[in-house]
């Protein structure tokens, strides 16, 4: 493997370091530099892609090792990378979408006092994400995992003067930490069972067959817990809506296209470890999150929060697919989702920019497609894709998953997936209509965004529109490409015939769009009054079924009380008390001993005499 492959992660790292130290001096060139490093990484990734497909299908795997990192007895960890179809796909998504968003940020973050540092963090994030997807062992992957968590924290809290932002950053870090810790326990179990954490040792048939199913299920579920945290699935999703406090490019890159998808990547990569039980867990949580996210999104007034819940929902679909065994479908949706979701986030950023600042409340938007035609048009494409209507890419990625669900015979799951699809179409159309249609309800002067922001959006829009060409329903290019890593897609045996399933999906999606049009787009329904009449329901949806509130009011006080007990009771009281007590004891003993030093010779002489008498006694007794 040519050494240039190593440049893929190292270029963004270099960019991050340069911007960290010299960002201020570089001024607006910091943004150019950052975009250039990611762009170059993308170019090299493309080169690697072409090199990869030149290899025969069975051997589509390039590995390289930099050096032995950890050697502890028989446990070895190396800095090693693996380029196979799965990681190649992720590489292209991360560097490609990352590059576009970096370009966009040049416009969006213009004038920010910490411009250079923003790009340093963004490049650092890309570096860690690349480490994550290129790693050939779980340890290195975990390094990337933690690194992206760190960068997420730094970027969410980028405008740390805002209390909400710094709180959100903390929340994100802490909640994902819960998942990360469980994942770490899973890794430890893996070492215990397999003696190694390299993919080559753990994920092969030979490695897997030596372990009992129960243990494997536990390991797989623990790994999945890390994914739950990172990908904001139930019940560790509470950080994602709050993470929208960060700048919009951050939301687009990290919380739509890349970091949150790391969980999906993990599950797909580790699929050899997932027993049927573990897979059921994944599917159930994925489906539940899909439905939950869709419903909660309907109740949000903040455009970014609505999109955040949407991301949660779409990720749920990906996990649902993975849980059913359709790994390549999950990845296909990941790729397509990266396009249209980041497009819509950038679009919302464009709207915010056009409205003069940080306006995100959709209630004071409306009619913006006339005032911001380019943004509006592209947002329509994105929403169209998400609804799952042909011919946009979403249809070709989401629909196969729902059909596959039907094919497995799990009727209830299929129905719920359909329901989620209905609500998905509903919420995204709601966002579209509230923001871009009707009359403008606000009091600002909306204007279109600069080209540096619109062009990346345009590229993403092309991907959102035509990405379907690569997926299963047309020619299965992506799925076929992924086969060496994910295993072949089993044809679903049972269930309704394919055309009927497709028809049902389309009808459901259209129903969602139509309902949204009726309520929020046409002007025929007073949705404000509708909301007032159904206030409890609305509030429940707006607060995400009060999950976050439950955590805040039940879980957090308990933990804080426990912490306080440990901190003041045990740490200050016991530990410090012991240490201080030791000091005081020494002091007091010294104070007592001090009286031996009378300064009077005769007492010293008496002491000597005592010693002499004792000594003589001992010597005599010893006879």
């Amino acid at each position: 493997m040519p050494a240039t492959i190593w440049l893929i992660p190292l270029l963004p790292l270099a960019g991050a370091l340069v911007n960290l130290f010299f960002g201020k001096r570089l001024g607006r060139y910091a943004g150019w530099l950052a975009s250039a490093t990611v762009g170059l990484a993308f170019a090299i990734s493309l080169g690697a892609f072409f090199a990869l497909i030149r290899l025969p299908e069975e051997g589509r795997e390039l590995t390289a090792t930099a050096y032995e990192w950890i050697t502890s007895g028989s446990f070895h960890v190396a800095i090693e990378i693996l380029i196979d179809p799965l990681s190649m796909t992720m590489l292209l998504v991360v560097t490609g979408v990352g590059f576009l968003i970096h370009v966009y940020s040049n416009g969006y973050m213009k004038g920010d006092p910490r411009f250079g540092r923003f790009f340093a963090y963004m490049n650092l994030f890309v570096f860690f994400m690349l480490v994550l997807v290129m790693a050939d062992n779980y340890v290195l992957m975990y390094v990337g995992w933690e690194g992206v968590g760190l960068c997420s924290y730094l970027l969410i809290g980028f405008w740390f003067e805002k209390k909400a932002a710094s709180h959100a950053a903390k929340k994100a870090f802490i909640v994902t930490r819960i998942g990360d810790t469980l994942m770490l326990i899973g890794l430890a179990l893996m070492v215990f069972q397999f003696g190694s954490l390299a993919f080559g040792d753990v994920l092969t048939v030979a490695g897997v067959s030596g372990v009992s199913e129960g243990t494997m299920t536990v390991i797989a579920v623990l790994l999945f817990c890390g994914a739950i945290g990172k990908s904001a699935q139930l019940p560790l999703h509470v950080w994602l809506p709050d993470a929208m406090e960060g700048p919009t490019p951050v939301s687009a890159l990290i919380h739509a296209a890349t970091m949150v998808t790391a969980g999906v990547y993990l599950v797909v990569r580790s699929h050899a470890l997932f027993s049927p039980t573990a897979m059921t867990v994944v599917a159930v949580i994925g489906l539940a999150s899909a439905l939950y996210g869709a419903l909660a999104s309907v109740g949000q007034d903040d455009i970014k929060r609505a999109l955040a819940y949407s991301t949660m929902s779409q990720l749920g679909y990906m996990f649902f697919a993975a849980g059913l065994g359709a790994y390549s479908l999950a990845i296909a949706l990941l790729v397509v989702h990266a396009f249209y979701k980041s497009l819509m986030f950038l679009g919302s950023g464009s709207v915010m920019h056009g409205l003069g600042g940080h306006e995100t409340d959709m209630r004071v938007m409306g009619g913006l497609r006339k005032l911001m035609p380019a943004t509006g048009g592209m947002f329509v494409i994105g929403a169209w894709a998400l609804s799952g209507l042909p011919p946009m890419s979403g249809f070709f990625a989401k629909d196969p998953i729902i059909s596959y669900a039907n094919g497995t015979g799990h009727v209830l799951m299929w129905i719920l997936a359909i329901a989620a699809a209905f609500f998905s179409a509903l919420y995204i159309s709601r966002i579209l209509f509230l923001t871009f249609f009707g009359a403008y309800r606000g009091d600002k002067h909306p204007h279109e965004s600069p080209k540096v922001m619109l062009i990346p959006m345009g590229v993403l829009a092309v991907g959102a529109a035509f990405g379907g060409l690569l997926t299963l329903s047309i020619n299965g290019a992506i799925e076929h490409f992924l086969e060496p890593a994910t295993g072949a897609l089993h044809e679903a045996g049972e269930g309704l015939p394919e055309p009927l399933l497709i028809a049902i999906s389309i009808v459901v999606a259209l129903a969602g769009v139509a309902t949204a049009w009726l309520i929020w787009g046409s002007g025929r329904v007073d949705w404000v009054a509708l909301r007032e009449r159904n206030l409890p329901t609305h509030e429940m949806l707006a607060h995400g079924f009060y999950v976050d509130d439950a955590y805040a009011n039940l879980l957090v006080p308990t933990l804080l009380a426990g912490s306080r007990f440990l901190s003041s009771g045990i740490d200050s009281g016991l530990v410090d008390g012991a240490v201080n007590g030791l000091g005081r004891l020494t002091e007091r003993t010294g104070g007592l001993m001090r009286h031996l030093q009378t300064g009077i010779v005769r007492t010293y002489a008496l002491a000597i005499l005592v010693g002499v008498a004792a000594l003589l006694l001992i010597l005599e007794v010893m006879r």
Partner: protein, 101 residues
């Protein structure tokens, strides 16, 4: 001679103990010094008794040296006491307690 040597040794011990009491109980530096001399003499007595017992003159030689060194020690010690007395106008050893902790 027919006195058992043991008697001399016990006598030496008794004199030594008396000297010890003197060192500890008296406060006059000179009397303390004299008690020390008493102790030294007690030891000399036991040395010479052992010399007799063992038939070896080395005991006497050691006692001889002990006397000489004691003389030198007395000289220096008294000089020190005189020097201290010049400062403090008192020969009370309890007064020299500057090393009190």
């Amino acid at each position: 001679m027919t006195t058992p040597i043991g008697y001399y040794l016990v006598l030496s011990g008794i004199l030594f103990s008396i000297g010890t009491v003197g060192v500890l109980v008296r406060r006059n530096a000179l009397v303390i010094f004299m008690s020390i001399e008493l102790q030294l003499n007690a030891v000399n007595l036991s040395l010479i008794a052992f010399s007799r017992q063992l038939g070896d003159l080395q005991g006497q030689v050691l006692a001889f040296f002990s006397m000489v060194v004691a003389a030198a020690e007395v000289v220096v010690g008294l000089a020190i006491i005189v020097a201290i007395f010049r400062r403090r106008r008192t020969a009370n050893v309890d007064e020299s307690n500057l090393l009190k902790g």
